[in-house]
Amino acid sequence: MKSDSNISPHPASNWVAIFGNPNCGKTALFNRLTGLHHKVGNYPGVTVERKSGQLRGTSIEIRDYPGTYSLYAKSLDEKIVTDAVHAWRSTADRPKAVIVVLDATNLSRNIYLSLQILDWNLPTIIVLNMMDEVARKNIRIDMPGLQHHLRAYRVIPASAKTGEGISAIIEAVKNVPPAKENIERQPRLIEIERYIHPLRPLIEFLEEREEQIGHNTTLEALSLISDFRHINYLKDVLTKEDFRRMKALLDEAKLHFDEHKIPYRALEQASRFAFIDMFIAPVIGEEKISRRSRSEKADRILTHRFFGPLLMIGFLAFIFNAIFSWAEYPMNLIENLTNLLAGLGQTSLPDGPLKSLLLDGVLAGVGSVLVFFPQILLLVFFLAILEDSGYMSRMAFMMDRVLHKIGLHGRSVLPLLSGFACAIPAVMSTRTIENWRDRLITILITPLMSCSARLPVYILLIAAFIPDRLLLGFVSLQGLALMGIYFLGMFTAIFVALILKKVFRGMPSPPLTMELPPYRLPMMRSVAWQLIDRAKSFLQTAGSIILAISILLWFMASYPTADETLNLSPAQKIEHSFAGRLGKAIEPVIRPLGYDWKIGIGLITSFAAREVVVSTLSTLYNLSADGGSSSGLIAAMQNDKHPDGTPVFTLLTALSLLVFFAYAAQCMATFAIIKKETNSWRWPLLMVSYMTVLAYVSALATYQVGKLIGFE
């Protein structure tokens, strides 16, 4: 039976797919459906295409796909969704059921994607999310009417915020009926006669091959004529000869449209929205366009010509200030705990290499990076708030003109701001930029944004060498220095973007269309999930890479052991070690920047991950301090002297190092993710080389010019 094989899900499939528009609350809903039991494909090297988890209380897998407006992909993100859907042509790749999440306060736009997915005729659950808001806004949705016109397996009102409807969704998935009951062949659109007529030969041709195509043939014809890329999905399902004949029929149809001057490129969209206006609009109680929503009223101030940008700067200043001041207490706590552990170990562990490894290698190394954990969490927290509240889009709206001028996109705001937390997710988030040129430039400059891994280095150097004074009685000099180093990265990014815009001027840059979602109170639940995800990935890095490098460094700094009879001081012993020799070897190259061999070791080890420099220095100084006493790293650095008695670290050395770390591409994971996202070695190599040159030259200039004008 032809029609059966065409629509039935694979009997063995035990997974469901979840789709939705951007901003429909899909992620929060996904989290509700899975609890915290989901896997996030994380860097490095792992594909982050989708999240998957277990539907609560079942063995059914649920796969989350990126938000998309339609199944005609405009960006890489959306292509993932489109590819996944087109895989349903083959019975084996069909899910047990499909969930489409819709923002119920904005159905007439949200429903378009649902229509496209419903027409694959798998058991489809339409979830009307944000019903709590619908109730508040007094929007009336005729549920039976909607169910009737959509012909969906289920239409379920829900709210990821209150938890309404969650159990109903789980029940619906569990009770998916056998495929036969879902047979539904009439596509959900209004066929427009003068369009359909010229397509008849093509539709008839496809109908004869319906088995291979595995999808409604009228829709296939409409998609072929609406989207020139669609044809690629048929390449593998048809024979070479059939494919050639189909192409000929398609060209004929296009010719016919052209001859009669009928615009055909928006055919599918027009037929869909005709359907929406005819059947769906009457049952969903859409908000009038003349109505001033609360968000619109708020935007009178928030995106105001004058107050908008002013407030934006204020918010950002607040965030950076908060990161510095709020994190102080938890940081002290972590530091005290580390010291407590070190003290305990000192008295209870037997002397020997193991004690040295645990205390001087592992604890000192990992502890000194862990102490910056609170600040990273704060930054992630604020980014989540900005994103979930809807304010991030307003920043993009306000900044688009400026960003467009330097070859970027309003949407570059998100990756660039995320770059302050971590370049890796930031580079991944450039997928939402539809245009390749804008995306590539954004990727290449994102690593210039001072990520949270640089923060430990900045804080260490600023705390140690910038005087803790107030300017004009209320501006902290240290805070100012931190802001300055962040601005240095930002301004350099603009400069580099301008150059890249010139280099890539051949590539087109299509216009920006971006939704401004309503302001919403961020769900603490969802913010917490994001925090947990990020915390996990940070701790995994700290727990694996940094631990490994800490141990390696401890080994390099401890071996080969010097001849006991020479009675060398601990510092001299380190000079004799592998680490000391390596640092000395590169000293001539970094001497002009104001660095000694200890910093040299730090630069080498931090090529893989820049925050490692803190633990490196900590390991080095802990080892050279007499009897391994846990005097703070800051004090150790301030007191360190060259053999001739002059201090190793001066204000100028610190500034030079700050500049170096602001620019240098010391992150293997960023390199890997750029390689993956651009699918080429060319761009990551370009990124590393331009940043390394920039770092070296700028640090050199800082130190030498500083010396000339009499600092030191």
Partner: protein, 88 residues
């Protein structure tokens, strides 16, 4: 003709979409977001630096660059409410 582009509307003005140049890059996305011929919209404002512009259509708010708004033909509609947003 020149005066009937989305670009020519002032904040607060309402209009109906007549046609969108279908060779325009990005017009497909506009169609998919519900900017179909005959759909009604209202101009909210221009961004602080003058570009892009914000419109309301099909119950949601959309930011659209002026270069694109020049390719969208519209027909102005009489406004059905007072200036403060209350309905007549």
């Amino acid at each position: 003709m020149e005066k009937n582009r989305l670009f020519d509307l002032l904040p607060g003005e309402e209009a109906i979409i007549e046609s969108i140049d279908e060779t325009l890059e990005g017009s497909e996305r506009l169609r998919e977001m519900g900017l179909s011929d005959g759909a009604r919209l209202r101009v909210i404002k221009f961004a602080p630096f003058g570009d892009p512009m914000e419109i309301k259509i099909r119950g949601f708010y959309l930011s659209i660059r002026k270069s694109m708004a020049k390719q969208i033909q519209v027909r102005r509609q009489p406004q059905l409410q007072n200036r403060d947003g209350s309905e007549i």
